[in-house]
Amino acid sequence: MKTDRIEKQILLRAPRARVWRALTDSTEFGTWFGVTFDGAFRPGAQMNGVIVGTKVDPEVAQLQKPHYGKRFEISIEQMEQERLFSFRWHPHAVDAKVDYSGEPATLIVFKLEETAEGILLTVTESGFDQIPLARRAQAFKANEQGWEVMIKVVEEYVARNP
């Protein structure tokens, strides 16, 4: 059972170059993600960012407000022109009092594929099995015994007991 990774796909009706820029231009990335970085993304770069709130969705920006000004660090891995972009981060690293640098990081990979309707973007986040259980509960749905199973169990139960 796959508990180490999350995979998401989205079809973007936009040119490949546009999607690539939104992902790999640090200012553009910050626009939708809600963070400002101290420079340009390049392979191997350690990026220091600050959470500022997304500019794309005011409602989400409002929800991000408690985290404004907090540090947000990512470490760029690969940049294969208009095809693949990857970086590492510490999931849910939002407590200013905690030093996350010694903890394992997850790997986020964006893959771009051309289709007839647009760009199929696949995002995977992996490495969850290395993250301490308490942190996982804060950050995502996965654990070594299979939260996927648990989710199904819970959903089935709730469906039977509305």
């Binding site: 999350i6 998401k8 794309v56 999931p91 849910h92 939002v94 509960a137 950050a139 015994q145 959903e155």
Partner: protein, 115 residues
Amino acid sequence: MRGIPKSRAEDTAQSSAALFAALGDQKRLWLVARLCHDGPASITRLAAGARITRQAVTKHLRVMEHAGLVRSSRRGRERVWQLEQHKLDEARRYLNQISLQWDEALERLRALVEA
């Protein structure tokens, strides 16, 4: 929004951690599935299908009871165990919420590139 939790997520994160730790065991997941499928059951009945001892079943139920996932009540001469639905609802809501974080971030990306 990925990596940036909503404040409500933070509030519930701690109790969810205990909840998920209680479920982080295949035997316990099996017991939850069994109670979910068959309804309230005694330890004897649970142990019969679990291929583990009554003592082990009892131990697992106690862990889950501590996390608020199950409770027991006396029915005639035996004690029966059942799931606490509100606790499972809480788990489901929390899991749904965190699973949406990537979806939400990607929707914002879409809004930007398709504009």
